[in-house]
Symmetry: C2
């Protein structure tokens, strides 16, 4: 957790840095960012727990049940959701090592259908995609993503297409991934 000197104090936004300087993965950056939004009462957005199937639980001491057999489940929804400026927020975050494209199979079909559905019901829904080798992180709205899959018979999204159709999230210190700034300047722009 980052110690903010005083709440609502202007924070320093830095230029994008080599990822080796940061040592944080996308999930950690997003957790810090969401905590920052909570601390400053800007939004309430959380990562959902990892979906698992619990098979066996031991109760050696009643106060601390121990799960001894469980399996990861394929997620049917997204990893992150919450509320911002009276709108539901719902997104999935993915990292790739590629320098040229984002492979579509990184996202499960159920997750895409989920994002389409929540957007239809009024949520702001998007993907956050980080190219770790390039140190570039993009916000791609779900409608643009669907537009891509409808118009291209490809198994991956080229980075050049993303540079045209998604929004680069500049890296900053506090918070690391200030994606709500992109939402403000695009979704809430009018």
């Amino acid at each position: 957790m980052i110690g903010y000197p005083t709440k609502r104090k202007a924070y320093i936004q830095t230029e994008s840095k080599p990822s080796t300087k940061r040592g944080m993965n996308l999930e950690e950056d997003l957790n810090l960012t969401n905590q920052y939004y909570l601390d400053l009462d800007m939004a309430n957005i959380h990562k959902k727990p990892t979906p698992i199937t619990i098979v066996k639980v031991d109760y050696p001491i009643r106060s601390k049940s121990k799960i001894t057999e469980a399996y990861f489940k394929i997620p049917s929804t997204t990893d992150y959701n919450g509320v911002y400026k009276h709108r539901a927020i719902d997104f999935e975050a993915k990292e790739t090592q590629s320098k040229t494209s984002f492979t579509l199979s990184n996202i499960h079909l159920h997750q895409i259908q989920h994002m389409e559905s929540v957007a239809k019901h009024g949520a702001i829904s998007f993907l956050i995609i980080r190219f770790t080798s390039l140190d570039e992180t993009y916000l791609l709205y779900i409608d643009k993503f669907i537009e891509f899959t409808n118009n291209h018979n490809r198994k991956s999204i080229p980075i050049d297409w993303l540079r045209q159709n998604a929004y680069l999230i500049p890296y900053s210190l506090t918070p690391p991934i200030h994606y709500l700034k992109i939402i403000d300047s695009t979704y809430f722009k009018e």
Copy 2:
């Protein structure tokens, strides 16, 4: 899963029945209800996975990692959230065996603070409380809950107060707990 004869067909709403006839707990009823909302494309609301801390994972076969040590975590948010009519929905559901009151310690302080926060950011936030012995299920908006805790120095909410300040959700067959009907007639009434 219930097999709906045809989508959007009118469904039969029945009178409240003794719970012995039903054999379903609140979580099962809510899962069926949320699935019904999804199937009819009315709303997109899900139960979040149970929050756990994973300590040890075995990888006997790479395709099926086995969690061999994990513990339940105290939830810091609510169990259910999603989106309905362009609003974020966020709620917690609890059952009690009591016939007279709902014990406040059933809800963690962090969950109350979370519900206050999301309501402030614009979510529709509430508790669903079922008195299993009475077969009565209530929807209590978070602002009413806070009002109760601010004005009463009690460790439980008497059922008579709930009957005045919360909304009884009638039991129906499909869906079992049609809580969005209450939201429609109260939150979206004007």
